[in-house]
């Protein structure tokens, strides 16, 4: 390991942070457009028309400027250190979770490893660990705001996130058992040698995707901020960029979750029926990055589509779903997978 490796990692971190932040800015535009189409409106279409930019493509810039220029209100009655800390936790946990996500080919014969931390053996467990810290942002925001709506939002959120972490972790384990590793690169390698994960773990996929919705606080599981009951939920008291940071954190979580969905269940950068013996070189690397990002884009579009399609759950329904159906199903899935994997490994391989 030389100093250049360190500099390379720093550059990679800067690029990833920059690209994901830019992607988040445009995802907000996409979400608004999808919301508009779902509600039979047009959505943002004016911003940038004067200077000849079509489709309101500089709307994210305007949104960002608005966030930065608004008055940053810190109410008198809040617990100030935690009130300021909470949005930072939200955004930091969302960002460092991305460190082990491979967004392109990784390996000894590659020019660039498309992953910030390629030597993390625990791979997916790291994402789960960092994701489990994200609840602090929400719960602290709710508590520090000293406001009953925010507080109820924070309480709901902590119960929801703890509950849905269990099926989230259990549903991943099936795929981990089959691929024999927690490392996301190896899971993808297994899928490109055999079949996509969704074909061998359909139940695991459904459970994972459902709990991912709950973990990212997206509809139909956005009870922590349900507007008609709790004003704005945990971020009621937040304004300007502090609110923007929660927003950013949520979308970064969506991106990370979509990456993991694609990596675990949709073969990563694998294109079915394209089998070429030698897939190294820069051109292949770029193609693979393109494939995985477009798959991730489709998953994100699906998540947004669901948001404007399904109504919100009631809170007891939400808890019932996690504890009474998803956790037992995930356990059954895990035990069945373990049995089948052991049988196959013993008698067929």
């Amino acid at each position: 390991m030389t100093i250049w490796v360190l500099i390379g990692i720093l550059i990679k971190m800067l690029v990833v942070v920059g690209v994901t932040q830019g992607a988040v800015a445009y995802l907000i535009l996409v979400e608004r457009k999808i919301a508009a189409y779902a509600q039979d409106r047009i959505g943002p279409n004016r911003c940038g028309r004067e200077i000849g930019v079509p489709f309101a493509l500089i709307q994210p810039l305007a949104d960002g400027a608005k966030m930065l220029l608004k008055e940053d209100v810190v109410p008198k009655y809040v617990t100030k250190p935690l009130y300021i800390l909470a949005p930072w936790i939200a955004i930091a946990t969302a960002m460092i979770g991305f460190a082990v996500v491979p967004f392109g080919p990784v390996g000894p014969n590659q020019i660039i490893d498309f992953q910030i931390a390629p030597n993390v053996d625990i791979g997916i467990l790291y994402v789960l660990a960092v994701g489990s810290l994200a609840v602090y942002g929400v719960i602290l925001a709710g508590w520090a705001s000293n406001n009953k709506y925010a507080f109820i939002g924070g309480l709901r959120s902590s119960a929801q996130l703890i509950s849905y972490e269990i099926p989230l972790g259990l549903s991943i384990l099936g795929m981990v058992l089959i691929a024999g590793s927690l490392d996301m690169n190896r899971i993808m390698a297994w899928q490109s040698r055999h079949v996509w994960g969704i074909l061998v773990q359909p139940l695991g996929f459904i459970l994972f995707f459902t709990s991912a919705f709950a973990e990212t606080n997206r509809l139909p599981f956005d009870l922590p901020e349900s507007e008609q009951e709790l004003v704005g939920g945990f971020h009621t008291e937040y304004s300007a960029m502090k609110f923007g940071m929660f927003f950013l954190g949520e979308y970064l979580h969506v991106i990370t979750v979509s990456f993991i969905t694609v990596i675990l269940f949709f073969g990563g950068w694998d294109v079915p029926f394209v089998t070429s013996p030698d897939q190294s070189g820069l051109l292949w690397a770029i193609v693979k990055v393109g494939v995985i990002t477009s798959k991730v884009g489709l998953v994100i579009l699906f998540i947004m589509w669901v948001r404007w399609t399904l109504p919100r759950f009631r809170y007891d329904q939400l808890m019932d779903l996690a504890w009474k159906s998803m956790i037992p199903l995930a356990l059954i899935n895990l035990v069945m997978t373990a049995g089948i994997v052991q049988l196959v490994r013993t008698y067929w391989v």
Partner: protein, 288 residues
């Protein structure tokens, strides 16, 4: 540990104990004078610095010495400092948060020691689930202001004395530990130790010839992890696979025992949590 560093450790522990005692909340939950807090903070900080001087960062790779070293000191100081803050905070919510800080710092230290699974596991289990549940309960219990018993320290003097005596005796044990003497006997013992591991036993048998035992062993130890599929030094160390192997070969009995105990606890929790129908209560009473 030399004599000099042992004396340094003793001074550090004494300073830390004094500082912690001063920082601990009042016995009746009242606020102490500001100077006491400043004094306590200074003492505890000096003790922390003295203690950090004793630690040596792990050496991982040539460049990593600087990076890993600085991270080591950050995490070590974070763990100890957050630990002191956990016991001295007057607000239980802050205590829980500092406890989360301890867990995260410890996970960082695990990472530096190349124990990635342990790091992720402790964050998921402690910081991600248990402390969040603590926070949940504390926040629900504190709806009407803070209670006195939450802010007060019960017999702070005795507690500080016990804890730092334990710490000092640990340091003393380390100081009196005989230095490691590299000898042939050591390597023989370690080789014998390693032979107990199933798969290494399999590879111990000669490759050629009628190695029936080896074949039988390999068949009984089918690789369900990729530990042996690619034992390539270029690849990342198979942390998880190695841990799993150690758990399920050398420590199988302990794992099974822990599983049985947890299962019993699970059944008990289900029995306790299940609400009984009201009519069933008198009947069971008459039975008893």
């Amino acid at each position: 540990m030399t004599n000099g560093s042992f004396i340094l450790a003793t001074i550090g522990i004494l300073l830390g104990a004094t500082g912690t005692y001063l920082l601990l909340p009042h016995r009746r939950g009242e606020a102490k004078p500001r100077t006491l807090y400043i004094l306590g903070g200074t003492f505890a900080g000096l003790g922390l610095i003295g203690f950090l001087l004793l630690l040596t960062p792990p050496a991982l790779s040539p460049l990593a010495d600087f990076v890993a070293g600085s991270f080591f000191y950050i995490f070590a100081a974070g763990a100890i400092g957050a630990g002191v803050m956990t016991v001295t905070s007057r607000n239980p919510v802050y205590s829980a948060l500092w406890f989360a800080g301890v867990v995260v710092s410890t996970a960082g230290l695990f990472l530096l020691a190349d124990a990635q699974f342990l790091a992720a596991g402790s964050i998921i289990v402690y910081a991600g689930a248990i402390i969040v549940t603590f926070l949940f309960v504390i926040m629900l219990a504190q709806m009407e202001g803070k209670a006195v018993y939450d802010r007060a320290a019960r017999s702070p003097g005795r507690a500080v004395f016990t804890c730092f005596l334990l710490l000092w005796s640990l340091a003393y044990c380390l100081a009196t530990l005989p230095g490691a003497e590299p000898s042939d006997a050591d390597s023989v013992v370690s080789a014998r130790q390693r032979l107990r591991r199933g798969r290494e036993l399999a590879s111990f048998y000669p490759e050629g010839g009628p190695a029936q035992a080896r074949i039988a062993l390999e068949r009984s130890l089918r690789p369900t992890s990729s530990l042996f599929v690619d034992g390539d030094p270029m690849k990342p160390k198979p942390n998880v696979a190695g841990l799993g192997e150690a758990l399920y070969t050398d420590n199988l009995l302990a794992v099974e025992l822990a599983g049985a105990i947890l299962f019993a606890a699970l059944i008990a929790a289900v029995v306790i949590a299940n609400p009984r129908p009201m009519t069933a209560l008198p009947a069971s009473k008459s039975d008893a």
